[in-house]
């Protein structure tokens, strides 16, 4: 049922466009749709091996505390409880998922050792023959805490005297090649502020955002006769999960097999490797298939959300709307552990100063540790909140100058050949044409000079 829905619009960049697409512009049926509408698609939790045991986590009831003691006596006495795993049972208890691409240090325990750093952090894993017994066992684990002061705000966490969240880093921020943050230094922003007709500075911030897939995070691990483990998982990243799990289990990669790729919604929330390693250890220690799946509360409380951010943007602007300097101070709340947020913060820096050619740019992008739920990936993480701030800033500047916000953007939009703040030459830019088209489609009038602008040239500016 492949048919062309709409002709390809070749009005922009005609010379660069071919019209011989076979898929673009046509309707292609999803390959998995038949399985979905008949109920035959197999999600990980549809796998029901005989003898399946259930794993439930006892989690931290504190934001930040030393663990004074863990008493498993009552939990072990619950009928049906097979095993309770603590940090001592995990072969390599300390990890960070991006170590696969050389990011360090290892900063997160699979199961807490002597300290908890966020509410809901896993402490011990109860494995039982029924889900009810596992829940009952997890509820009966007794942990005694010595509370530590907690910090929940990125700027407070960086202030002097703030409680140290993560000892493996040694300070409340990630270090980028010896620097306290990801930085951009291009031109001289202070000079631009001195020369500008206007200086505008505003603050933007966002809360953490939970991906909230309808299927919660989980896996079923089935020990095989040949000693391998078969992992049915809803991870968004099968091989990433396999490799990280092997490192945590200290086992060769070929001892693990992942069956996955069918994900009941992920949006980035199923990229961290949080359920598979502990379920694998449980399966090895009990020699039974083990299921570890979050309930809805866990999905909302402990699965890693999009990071909260706080962003200050200060712009040097001329009367005619040209932005001649932009200074950005950006904080990304990593929560208690790094996960994917050092990378997200780098993406935030890479995205500045937005799709505009600004001759003087200064940015400090901080990846900050606090006692909040570790944040991680979510659709365009590191970029979307920055865009919210940048584009809000553009609208506010337009309003302050009493200028059409589209014209302000067309004036400042990057063109092919411009040197970007990261010292890369811009190519394949199309912002000018996109704005022109959007204006046309929404009946927003642009003067002739703006309609003649092009991404290919700075003429007419």
């Amino acid at each position: 049922m492949t048919y062309r829905l709409a002709a390809i619009d070749k009005s922009s960049f005609a010379a660069e466009r071919e019209d011989d697409f076979t898929v673009i512009g046509s309707v292609v049926r999803r390959s998995d749709a038949l399985g979905h509408v008949t109920g035959r698609t197999e999600f990980f939790e549809d796998v029901a091996p005989p003898g399946l045991a259930h794993l439930k986590m006892h989690r931290s009831a504190r934001h930040h505390a030393r663990i004074a003691g863990v008493d498993l006596t009552e939990a072990l006495a619950v009928p049906g409880v097979l095993k309770i795993l603590t940090h001592a049972d995990i072969p390599n208890n300390l990890y960070t998922p991006l170590k696969l691409i050389g990011v360090g240090p290892d900063d997160e325990p699979i199961l807490a050792v002597d300290k908890v750093r966020y509410l809901g952090e896993p402490i011990c894993a109860v494995v039982a023959v029924t889900e009810a017994a596992a829940l009952e066992g997890a509820a009966r684990v007794k942990v005694t805490y010595e509370d530590l002061p907690a910090v929940f705000d990125v700027e407070e966490a960086l202030a002097e005297g703030a409680p140290l969240v993560n000892e493996y880093h040694g300070q409340n921020h990630f270090i980028y090649e010896g620097h306290h943050c990801r930085r951009i230094r291009f031109g001289d922003v202070e000079k631009a502020f001195a020369e500008a007709d206007h200086v505008f500075e505003w603050r933007y911030q966002s809360a953490p955002i939970e991906q909230a897939p309808v299927e919660t995070t989980g896996c079923v691990v089935i020990p095989q006769a040949d000693g391998r483990l078969r992992i049915h998982s809803d991870t968004q990243a099968c091989f990433f999960t396999l490799d990280n799990t092997a490192l945590i289990l200290e086992t060769p990669f070929n001892k693990l097999r992942i069956v996955g790729g069918t994900v009941g919604g992920g949006f980035g929330g199923k990229v961290d490797v949080v359920v598979e390693p502990v379920a694998c250890v449980a399966a090895m220690m009990t020699d039974r298939p083990v299921k570890f799946v979050y309930n809805r509360y866990e999905e909302m409380q402990v699965s890693s959300p999009r990071a909260a951010e706080r962003i200050y943007i200060k712009d040097a602007v001329m009367d005619d709307g040209r932005i001649i300097g932009r200074k950005v101070t950006l904080y990304v709340d990593s929560g208690a552990y790094a996960r994917h947020t050092p990378y997200g913060t780098t993406k935030a820096a890479a995205h500045l100063p937005g799709p505009y050619s600004i001759p003087n740019v200064w940015a400090d992008c901080h990846c900050v540790f606090t006692n909040r739920t570790p944040s991680s990936a979510m659709r365009g993480f590191g970029v979307t909140i920055g865009d919210f701030a940048l584009e809000s800033q553009m609208d506010r500047i337009a309003r302050a100058l009493d200028m059409d916000p589209l014209r302000l953007r067309l004036l400042n939009a990057y063109r092919d050949g411009d040197l970007k703040a990261h010292r890369k030459v811009a190519e394949g830019t199309a912002l000018v044409e996109v704005i022109q088209k959007a204006a046309e489609m929404s009946g927003h009038e642009l003067p002739e000079a703006y309609r003649r602008m092009s991404s290919l040239t700075r003429e007419g500016l």
Partner: protein, 162 residues
């Protein structure tokens, strides 16, 4: 309380299984009968992914204690296609891209079956009302609403041509 044998008519066939006290209809279908189309998104009646029909009425199977429906007829997504042929709702969901990850799809289709059984010509508002208990995080709902209205049209046409 001891376990008991529960009999149900599932997708037209009589079925029996042993139910521990408090077992939900969802667990009975998925774990005892191996009918896994209905999903557990929340286990607390808030997402609709577990929706099945009990005597033709859409119910959240995660909230129904299985002994309370003993002897009644239950319909699940597995029983909707007949002889390998998709019904109008299923094919309309495929054609209108109303399924992405597919996790909400069983629930969405079952509420649609119940809706179209009681109202062959629903308005867009009726459709929105019917799926108001079903969460979809992928589609943004619009393709689902379009698919349901299209399914209603297809079904009316099928009826008329018969």
């Amino acid at each position: 309380m001891p376990s008991q044998i529960v009999s149900l008519v599932v997708n037209g066939e009589p079925r029996e299984f042993i139910a521990a006290p408090g077992m939900t209809l969802l667990a009975g279908l998925r774990e005892s009968l191996g009918l896994t189309a209905a999903k557990r998104g929340c286990g607390q009646g808030t997402c609709g992914s577990c929706t099945v029909l009990v005597e033709g009425q859409a119910r959240a199977a995660c909230l129904v204690a299985v002994e309370t429906v003993a002897g009644l007829s239950v319909s699940t997504l597995e029983g909707v296609a007949t002889g390998g042929e998709l019904d109008a709702v299923q094919s309309s969901f495929v054609d209108n891209f109303a399924t992405q990850c597919g996790f909400c799809t069983a629930g969405m289709i079952m509420v649609t079956e119940a809706l179209l059984d009681r109202d062959p010509d629903p308005s867009e508002e009726d459709v929105a009302e019917a799926i108001s208990g079903n969460v979809c995080r992928c589609t943004g709902y619009q393709p689902i609403v379009i698919a349901i209205l299209d399914a209603a049209r297809r079904r009316r046409e099928e009826r008329a041509s018969r």
